[in-house]
């Protein structure tokens, strides 16, 4: 993307006022998206953005500048801007010795989105629309979308790291609205992977659309959710986001070093039920949060965070691992060249247990079965969270009975981890977008079906 000798000169310029560490990150990203709504193909959209971000570190202080001008002059100007934060003026005459370039291209069998005609992509949307509508007369509206992206980046730093990577991502989603006597209800399904158009050979579009339609139809007969503290069974397909938000964020080393996490100083302690093993795995094949190298050039890893309920380790980026004199866990990510990297999750998940999912339900006298959770929010300082339940049912006498209207699940991450009393032998991973400090990155969230002994349900109004 940029020649190695230019990169070396820019790194040298970035260290001219005596920084301890300098990094050049060059990125180009092309995206395509198409959407269908109410039977009409809406505007197709595509575009390209590229640029470079340069950071220089002086002790704990980081200077950062980004530019869309990838000429040597443009890069040198950004290097100068980034190093202007210099807290000392020891004129540096640093030598930069880049390692041989490590290159992680997309898989040879990947089919680039750009090689597929737009007609074929539009065709997918029409199929999703037809399939969702055929699921029932109550389906009145269908939305479908397709998107692909191709991201290339180069990252090089003054420690010699020199990595280039290509990432290809493809996603399909479908949303439905069902109308009945009780009003309107919505359903949603999505599939998203770090792979090319070959994803569409793996996905049964008709099944996906049918599932989104059935979610909406099921909720038509929903009754208000009860409120109060109840046992909750979380389906594997629907709940991983809870652990991402309410536990994962608290295990990010930046929160730990600022003492703004409930998990600070707890390594080696029992922080969860012995049934809980939590991983963050950037190497998980083709999942939404997967990559070869992170955005700082460190290889992705499979990291055990909690083992049998005991806190093993946190997640680390370059900055945090340098401060702690250890190696990065490959969790340094950035939304784009215009953002500073920080500690982020990749694919976080709870591992499967030994119980049978049906038996867990059968063993629950009265509670809530959550088939799909919506978005949520968490306060990492306290672990308090709130999540929407987009599809939930009552469990009565060990059986799933009435569907429930939307309501919130509210609780505390560490408490929930301690009160998991059954973990099933099934497992599912779902894609999501994680937001932190204004930056969004793709992540995967996974879990088996499991039961939490008690969570507060914020009931539906008049419930």
């Amino acid at each position: 993307m940029v020649d190695a000798d230019v990169v070396e000169r820019v790194l040298r310029a970035a260290l001219v006022s005596g920084g301890d560490f300098a990094e050049v990150f060059v990125e180009e990203k092309a995206t395509f998206s198409a959407a269908l709504d109410d039977g009409n193909v809406e505007e197709l959209s595509s575009g390209v953005a590229r640029g470079a971000g340069i950071r220089v570190r002086f002790g704990d202080t980081t200077g950062f500048a980004h530019t869309a001008d990838l000429s040597e002059r443009g890069l040198l100007r950004a290097a100068e801007a980034a190093s202007a934060v210099a807290i000392r003026s020891t004129s540096g005459s640093s030598t930069i010795a880049l390692s041989p370039r490590l290159f992680a291209p997309v898989d040879i069998e990947s089919i680039m989105g750009s090689s597929i005609s737009k007609d074929r992509k539009v065709e997918l949307l029409l199929r999703l629309d037809a399939a969702a509508r055929s699921a029932g007369a109550s389906i009145r509206q269908v939305g479908a979308s397709y998107g692909d992206s191709f991201r290339r980046f180069l990252v090089a730093n003054s420690n010699g790291t020199f990595v280039e990577e290509e990432q290809i991502r493809t996603r399909v989603s479908v949303s439905t609205v069902a109308v009945g006597d009780t009003g309107m209800q919505g359903g949603y399904e999505t599939v998203a992977r770090t792979m090319g158009f070959e994803l569409l050979e793996e996905v049964d579009l008709e099944e996906l659309a049918g599932r989104a339609a059935r979610r909406a139809i099921a909720k038509l007969s929903a009754r208000p959710a009860p409120s109060g503290k109840l046992p909750v069974v979380l389906n594997g397909r629907g709940g991983g986001v809870l652990f991402h938000e309410a536990c994962g964020h608290g295990l990010e080393a930046d929160h730990i070093s600022k003492n703004s996490s409930v998990y600070t100083g707890k390594v080696g302690e029992q922080v969860a039920s012995p049934l809980v093993t939590l991983l963050d795995d950037g190497t998980f094949s083709k999942q939404w949060g997967t990559y070869s190298y992170d955005d700082e050039g460190n290889p992705a890893k499979s990291n055990v965070l909690i083992k049998d309920g005991v806190l093993v380790d946190y997640m680390w980026d370059q900055n945090q691992s340098d401060r702690a004199a250890r190696v990065s866990s490959g969790n340094g990510r950035r939304q784009s060249y215009a953002h500073l990297p920080m500690v982020r999750m990749t694919n976080s998940y709870l591992t499967a247990g030994e119980s049978n999912p049906e038996e867990i339900i059968a063993d629950t006298e009265y509670g809530i079965y959550i088939a799909q959770l919506g978005g949520g929010q968490v306060n990492t300082a306290t672990g308090d969270f709130v999540f929407g339940m987009t599809e939930a049912y009552l469990i009565e006498n060990g059986e799933i009975t009435a569907p429930l209207r939307e309501a919130n699940l509210i609780g505390n991450g560490p408490e929930v981890l301690r009160s998991i009393d059954a973990v099933a032998d099934d497992f599912s991973m779902v894609p999501g977008t994680c937001g932190k400090d204004g930056q969004s990155v793709p992540v995967g969230c996974g879990q088996p079906t499991l039961r939490i002994t008690e969570v507060t349900i914020g009931g539906t109004a008049n419930g």
């Binding site: 009409n40 595509s46 709130v386 939307e406």
Partner: protein, 448 residues
Amino acid sequence: MDELEKAVKFVKSSMIDGEAMEAFILSEREVAIRIYELEIESLTTAESSGVGIRVVRNGRTGISYAGTLDREAITRAIEEARDNSRFGSPDEFAGVAEPDGVEPPVMSSQWSHELLSTPMEKKIELARDLERLTRRRDKRIRSLNSSNYGESAFASAIINSNGIERYSEATYCWAYAHALAGEGDESQSGFGMSAAKDFSEIDIEFAAAEAATKATRMLGARKPRSMKTMVIFEPEVTRSFTSIVAGTLSAERVQKGRSLFANRIGEVVASSKLTLVDDPTDERFFSAVPIDDEGLASRRNVMIDRGELKGYFYDTYTGRKAGVSSTGSANRGGIAGSTAPGPRGCYFEAGQISREDLIESVDSAILVQSISGVHSGVNPISGDFSVGAEGFVVTKGSLGEPIKEFTISSTIQKMLGDVREVASDLTFRLGSAAGMTLAIDDVSISGN
């Protein structure tokens, strides 16, 4: 900005007969300073620009974007948008805005030379002072997650093949702090912020007091018991609520059957105490701009008048579809986004009663300091409303113990009808909505 004008010229020269074209061109400079324990954790300076193109041919729309403003990138974006337009479904209402004779209001300068000429050292010092002030407010402030300063200076142009060519530029700056308060094993966090057009107007005393107060006053909070009661929203909470209500009035949502207010114009949908106004020209908003994102004049629209629903938000497309004019309400999600109608500067008109008198007049209620989970907990189609909250018990006119980990639930329809009092303390901050202290009857609280 030179780059912007060059790009405008170039796009104009690329327009051809037989198609409608619109370009949204943006150029932005940003500074972000983050302080931790009085040291600079990071200092970011950046320049960015880009263009978003919309082409309509034979009723078919295609869009594209480029993250740079060089000729090659713009040319490629225009070609892509033209190609993309081949695949859209034909729609007789598709098109770009037409001049409607409404002149954009003359507004005082949105561009602060004072801000841009203030040396970086002073901006760094301001963020440091914010940390010092926040710590000084209360012994129980253990640390700050960060203390921040940020600024943005942007210039944008919207041009289209119907002859619209309009420019806007603005600067703003802000400072915010995340305070962490602790007592024993317990810790709570609090966020405080101040924003301004000019550097000298940032009020870090205010931001520090807000962050410290919000963090410390929640210490010792417990989960309340479940009940039905009056809730009193803090202005920030009312601001979120106002955005939610106004969002359901987008004509796009209405036309797609995704609004609980479809087909209800002229009906009473709220308490007679409520008048919902959208006025992006109101300069109390930092985001006030004379034009919307299709290049039409911003204007004041009354959406709900003393409880009666008066209208929806329209952009050019939804207006044509409904046979009405655009209300100047086009919003665009950045250069890569598409355009949709919606609120751009909305608030409920302030009432007569002061916040203090309102709280004093209450026998029993819950004061809601913040809500969370709004995106997942509010259904704009059914109106179901269930969000997480923290706040205080109010008994006989005074603030009591802090409470947390509870949800408040009702429906949007019911809450609008159940509004008891609208206080006079309408507060403007960053963002496209403003709020005041608002009392709503008969809301379900679930806790223990």
